[in-house]
């Protein structure tokens, strides 16, 4: 068990919160995955959620992102509660205000890289030509020049994750939720992806909630929290 000195514990940011949770509880049958978690994320802040496997860190991300409805407590986004929204409203929120990067497999294999990146814009009703033009702007910024027409199967793992980052950022979301974004990459590729993700997010003042079990990856965050047995047991920086 990692122990954090009580002097550096800081469970919440002092900046205004864009996303916050209070007393968050989530159960799966008899198992209590989250046991009263309090959390806040400031605008533009990068926070890493760490913890061992099965500690509840991914469940926390899913509850904060509106993917899973909590069984207790509340989640607020920009001051408004989102945990009591219906599935349709939560989907709309995820589509317009949030971005997502997962470990692997989130790109649609039949679509080109450019089409994959433009997909969230299309879902928001943006015209295809406009969506693809906006998506194309991300390729040079993420070192993906010339990759626009390639399929996911024709790219390396690192390139695919950079495409996934571009897809998460293309709608200029308020928050990006990244669940083990480098879990399937080697060290160098993982660092490249994290570097691009955090700098691009900072460029548009987007907050990032990063779930990882790797200290190297967590080092890209401004603040770390540790989840253990469904509780936030510590926070760093």
């Amino acid at each position: 068990m990692t122990a954090f000195p009580s002097s550096v514990l800081a469970l919440e940011s002092t900046a205004p919160a864009v996303l916050a949770a209070s007393g968050l509880v989530k159960r799966f049958g008899q198992t209590e995955a989250l046991r009263g978690v309090d959390f806040s994320l400031a605008r533009g802040e990068v926070v890493a959620v760490m913890g061992p496997s099965g500690s509840g860190k991914s469940t926390l991300l899913h509850c904060l992102a509106g993917i899973l409805p909590p069984d207790g407590g509340s989640v607020t986004f920009e001051g408004a509660r989102i945990d009591d929204l219906g599935e349709g409203d939560r989907s709309r929120l995820r589509r317009t205000a949030f971005g997502f990067v997962f470990q692997f497999g989130q790109l649609v294999p039949e679509l080109s890289a450019l089409e994959n990146v433009s997909l969230p814009l299309l879902l928001n009703g943006v015209r295809r030509s406009v969506a693809e033009a906006a998506a194309a702007e991300w390729f040079p910024r993420l070192g993906l020049d010339g990759m626009e027409r390639r399929r996911p199967g024709e790219m390396s793992g690192g390139q695919s994750q950079r495409v996934a980052v571009a897809r998460a950022l293309v709608t200029e979301p308020s928050v990006i939720f990244a669940d083990e974004p480098t879990g399937a990459l080697d060290t160098i590729a993982g660092e490249q992806v994290m570097e691009l993700l955090t700098s691009a997010a900072a460029g548009q003042n987007t907050s990032v909630l990063l779930v990882t079990h790797e200290a190297r990856v967590a080092a890209f965050a401004e603040r770390e929290i540790v989840v253990r047995d469904g509780r936030v047991s510590g926070s760093d920086r």
């Binding site: 989907s91 929120l93 971005g99 989130q106 679509l111 997909l119 969230p120 879902l123 295809r128």
Partner: protein
Amino acid sequence: MTLSEVRLGVRLAVADGRRSAIAFGLTALAVAIGTAVLLFAVSFMPALEERDGRSAWRQPVQIEDPSQARLSMASFEDAYDGQTLVRVFLAPLTADAPVPPGLSKLPGLGEAYVSPALADLLARTPADELAPRFGSVVGTIGPEGLRSPGELIAVMGVDPAQLGGWANPIVGFRTEPAPHNLPPIALLILVLAVVGALVPVAVFVATATRLAATRREQRLAALRLIGATPAQVARLAVVEALLYTGIGAPAGILVFALTRPLVAQIPLDGGTWWPETIAPPLGEALALMLVVQVVGALAALAGMRRLSLSPLGVQRRVTPPQPSALRLVPTFAGLVSLIVSVNVFRGPDIVPLVFVGASFAAIIIGIAFAGPWLTALVGRVLGRIARGPSALLAGRRLADDPRGSFGSIAGVIMAVFVASAFFTFAAYATIHAGDFHAPTRPNVVQALPYNAASAEVMAARLSSVKGVQSVLGIRDVGLVASSGDSMQAWVVPCESLLAEMAMPEASCGSARIHTILPPGRALASSYEVVSYDSRFEELVRLDFPVDPATVAPLVPDATSVEGLPDVIIDPIAFGDAAAQLPVTRLYVTTDGAAATSERVRAAVQTMDVTATVSLADTKVSSVPQFAEVARIVGLGLIGSLLLAGCSLAVATMTGLLERRREYTFLRAAGMPVARLRALVLLQAGVPLVVVSGFSALLGVVVAQVILRIWSASASAAEVPMPDPSLALVLGVSLAVAMAVVVATLPAVDGLTRPTSLRSE
């Protein structure tokens, strides 16, 4: 194959819980429906033979020595209110005259036995419209004497003299049916309909067993990875396929048994069926069960080929090679072959039918071959024009795996092609069906009494029938020139005749002789006029000089007129001699009510049992079974599309499972489930509609090509577009197929729910 392999194969097949159950249920259902359709197909000929056997007694057996005859019989096909009605007349010649099947004894003079359906109709019909045609009804005919449960037939006792030239002397009734004498075009269409129904079923059975391949491949690939040999893996795949067909095929027998009473209600060749007569021969049924298993096993083995090459079972998605446009070549080759063979071999011989049939088959196979190319094209176009994510994803999925997408609908496409070609033929047959009838006004009934002596009396009596406005007597005669050239003529006042006709282009003027002759043919200077009775015995012979000054054409263009003789002669041209010519044809003008027409028919046949009566809308079709075959083709199409719906549903759900992870991520990122449902519908519906439309168009074009070439040498030059009911049948069929796909949509939500990410 060892028992442990069988056990492992079964365990693998059911290992996936609910998902297995859904795929298994749909696949087994498709196999069951396909098996049931094939069982009906092999039951068809035995059922037809059974039916023909029941009615064989009505076909007289020719005898060499008339003195041995024990019974005189004649059979007439007639109608009531548009329904076919058979009247069989029996006149015993000896005391031991035979009794036909279904009757306890021969009807006496003026008595009749009627079928249960006719008895029911008589009870519901006003007495003066139908009952007088049969005399006194003394009993009903048993099933052994009927072709079908709903057949309208009466067996009546008459005096031998009443039958005139129609009498057939017989010793006993025929027990073996005469061979079916279908016209070549009907034969061709029936063969095409059967092939068109069987090929899709075979494709569906193969497709259905292949559909679960994605899940199977993942499991079996894992076995390959731990050292299973390709042969072992293939055997496991066969076990799994046999599980589907092993349950689906017997379930098909159940579907067959449950739907047989409904299928028995479908009329074909003049009637519905007794359900118990629709039964496949045991040997053929057993062979069919075996064939379904073999087809399933072969399809499973075919699906294993890729897996054997790639034990990891994971294929990275790169831009796949697209089907070549060369796939269109067989279709065009079939079209060219068809045009050449129809042009080269015209006529009723069997040779052209073989060539035409082969070309037709080549086109059908060509469509199946070209299908993936067309599906890929549809996918590329859809992907290019898509504005939303659903259409974009559907288009890309189709373009990526056109063979997989087309596999589910291949059978449908062939069924659509055959149906659209058939409906075009049917429309042609329908519009030319009445060509042999004179163009009378709708309210004119034609009666042809075969007893010439009774015609005058009949005309007088018909004038008093309720609703009859006038009766025109016509004398049919032959004109024989000294050169031997002969023509047909009607002796009737021109103005009176035209009053009965719907011929605005015709005019009488002052001429007494009106010709309806094609260009290049003219009247001779004199003829002998000959009149015959119903036994074609000569009654009257008169000299008839033709005065050219009294001759004029009846219409400007005689080639457009059907059903009239070569010449219309005013009785005045014969002077007093006209009275010697017997009236042979009556045109009865009515008030237009259907009941009046039936009263006229009843009155005519009461006076002369052998007289035929035809209404203005009575059509003489060269292919009388067209309407019924059209119904069968239509039902076959709907059935095919129902099967395709099952195949499509399983295929799209399998595709969804393949992309479950990606789609779940998309939903987590905010994609509404409605967009995913739209994706499933587009992926299934767009190729179905587009490729069906292509097949329908090709079917119409092919039929039009055949008919245009054929009709160019015939008088019936007009080639119509297919009957509008084609659009209805196609629409209903597509709706049925899509309804099956829609029924699977609720599963989309469950399979891609973002909450499942925690278990990924």
